[in-house]
């Protein structure tokens, strides 16, 4: 049977064709995924030349338009980096991410240890469930939940709390000074439960013998946390931290666009690279500027994610993505 196959006309067919035939079931399985990746991920990668062009539609066909559009080199980038926006969006993206990384790690870790220490398993499960809930809600819903508290004319804070204290209502959506805090709090609200559960899972996975040995030596519960729990989960903390750092140039459009309701007065403290790209593309139709900002983000993002992965690989090769 095998010999017959080799003697059949396929002998004259090229080697690559024989390879494909040999693995055809595997290739067929990969095909749909490969097509999706090619069309929605790889094709846009070639589209980044838009950023170096004065893109205009000539005849409705994207590729011929791209080809015919004038090559302007780095001019889009020059325009972008001459605006004050370039600095503001970079600063906002980086600073918010740094604060998110530190605050989320510390608070989630603290909650995870608390959940592990309390005596009632039932209550622990209830707290876990409640903390996890915000992770399941969309940013739109989160923005409505926030709005119900800080709506200027009907919000719970203005109409009930501040009123009962005899204070003037606050125009939340036009006061930039409150928003760095609001953004950090609501981001924590959405993510802490999720991160906490990851840490809790690795705490539960710690070998109980460590604790038994410590108890025999008379270590208090607090000493056990400091000398066993924390050192044992340090690799997980570092890996989570680095994965986060790798995405430091990315921001969640839902958080920065939906939650502040895209209020123009808040831009100085809420506009990140993603918001800027989205607004200049969808609202202003400024392809030159937005494509330059998007490419800038892709390139610096590529560098940080590769660097972060390199660091992860050094610490824990199993957790590295490549």
């Amino acid at each position: 049977m095998k010999g017959k196959e080799i003697l059949s006309p396929s002998r004259t067919s090229p080697a690559w064709w024989r390879e494909i035939k040999k693995n055809r079931a595997m290739f067929l399985m990969l095909l749909p995924g490969v097509l999706v990746l090619l069309l929605y991920n790889y094709l846009p990668m070639f589209g980044i030349i838009i950023a170096f062009k004065n893109f205009m539609f000539y005849d409705g066909n994207f590729f011929t338009s791209l080809f015919k559009s004038e090559w302007i080199g780095l001019r889009n980038f020059e325009f972008l980096f001459k605006t004050p926006d370039a600095f503001v969006i970079t600063r906002n993206t980086l600073l918010y991410n740094l604060v998110f990384i530190t605050s989320c790690t510390i608070v989630s870790l603290a909650f995870a240890i608390m959940l592990n220490e309390i005596r009632s398993r039932k209550l622990s499960r209830f707290y876990q469930g409640s903390m996890f809930l915000p992770y399941f809600l969309s940013w739109i819903v989160a923005s409505y939940l926030l709005y119900s508290f800080i709506s200027p004319d009907k919000g719970f804070i203005n109409m009930t709390i501040l009123k009962s204290l005899g204070k003037q209502p606050i125009a939340w959506y036009s006061e930039p000074k409150y928003w760095p805090y609001i953004i950090v709090l609501i981001n924590g609200w959405k993510w802490i439960g999720n991160n906490c559960i990851i840490y809790l899972a690795s705490i539960i996975g710690i070998d109980q013998e460590f604790y038994e040995a410590a108890r025999i030596d008379g270590a208090s519960r607090w000493q056990q946390v400091i000398h066993i729990t924390l050192p044992q989960i340090t690799p997980v903390i570092i890996v989570m931290f680095l994965i986060f750092v790798g995405r430091i140039f990315n921001s969640d459009l839902g958080l920065f666009y939906q939650v502040p309701r895209n209020a123009g007065m808040l831009y100085p403290v809420t506009q990140t690279i993603d918001v800027y790209v989205f607004n200049s593309l969808m609202r202003m139709g400024d392809i030159g500027m937005s494509s330059a900002a998007a490419l800038y983000q892709s390139v610096v993002g590529f560098i940080t994610i590769v660097a972060a992965n390199y660091a992860v690989r050094k610490i824990d090769p199993d957790s590295a993505i490549f």
């Binding site: 707290y127 309701r261 892709s298």
Partner: protein
């Protein structure tokens, strides 16, 4: 002996006082997570005129379910958006799970010669992307996703990170010997995949399916990029639209015509908005306890073994 035993217990659990303090902190935070939803539910059940007077409160001053009646009688747009969200979520989840599992299986197989190439082909998309502008322009002009239901489904079909989780799951849970045995029995690759691999990988598939469901159900971004046609607007995007004007609720109903001004003036707009939020999160909150367990499993797999 007895004293020693209590001493030992003290070391194996926190003291009663510490336990109480920890419980208070955790309960406080649990309430912070739940109460905003309670406030929105309460607002949706409050009479519109009391809302204008007293603002949003945790206990309705005057109870009313008019907002819900209004949405389901006049707001055909809400019903249509709900339908779109359900359709996109069901279709999207099924398709994406199938496509991702079909991709994850070959790259999980040790004997597949090209597994490294295809793994890299996948992972590279996590490292570099064309950015929003290029993706949008190609989505609209080349893939023709504008005002198409595929615009809400196609972009999320492949998630590199989830494929990697599935690959790891296949690798660790499906013994090579089993596949080998099936092959000796004469089973083809697709038979092996659908009859052996998929059933064995059910817990891993369920986790990823839940992630996918959540992503499709909560998505507003794809609608913001690709959808103008009111008939194709999904619920989260409709919620975004009605932030600025309740007019959007009427755009789909041609039969109202000249009466729309009249309806708008009688509309319980505040309560109705919140009622829409409640309808939108309802299915998630109700089914949440059932799939919490699976998600926890998936999260830990994803975080520790990438």
């Amino acid at each position: 002996m007895g004293k020693e035993q209590t001493e030992f217990n003290r070391l194996s659990a926190v003291s009663a006082k510490t336990n109480a303090i920890l419980n208070i902190i955790l309960l406080g935070y649990a309430l912070v997570c739940i109460l905003p939803l309670v406030l929105v539910i309460s607002v949706s059940l409050t009479d519109e005129s009391t809302l204008a007077l007293y603002g949003y409160r945790f206990f309705p001053k005057k109870f009313s379910i008019y907002a819900y009646e209004f949405i389901f009688s006049t707001g055909s747009q809400v019903v249509s958006a709900y339908g779109i969200t359900i359709l996109v979520t069901v279709l999207g989840t099924i398709l994406s799970i199938l496509i991702m599992a079909l991709y994850a299986y070959p790259i999980s197989r040790r004997d597949f010669k090209y597994k490294n190439f295809f793994t890299f082909f996948l992972i590279f998309t996590m490292l570099f992307n064309g950015g929003m502008v290029s993706t949008y322009l190609i989505g609209v002009n080349v893939l023709k996703l504008k005002d198409s239901i595929w615009g809400l489904i196609f972009p999320y079909l492949m998630n590199a990170f989830w494929v990697i989780i599935l690959r790891t799951f296949f690798k660790t849970n499906i013994p090579d010997s089993l596949i080998e045995a099936a092959r000796i029995d004469g089973a083809g690759e697709f038979t092996i995949f659908f009859r052996i691999v998929m059933p064995l990988a059910l817990p891993g598939l369920a986790t990823i399916a839940l992630f996918a469901t959540l992503q499709y159900w909560n998505d507003w971004f794809l609608a913001a990029l690709y959808i103008n046609d009111p008939k194709l607007v999904p619920l989260p995007y409709l919620l975004y639209q009605v932030q600025t004007s309740m007019q959007y609720l009427l755009q789909n109903s041609s039969n109202i015509g000249g009466m729309s001004g009249d309806i708008l003036s009688k509309m319980p707009s505040e309560a109705a908005r919140m009622a829409m939020v409640v309808i939108g999160v309802g299915p998630i909150v109700l089914t949440f306890p059932f799939f919490q367990k699976y998600l926890v499993k998936g999260l830990t797999v994803g975080a520790i073994k990438g």
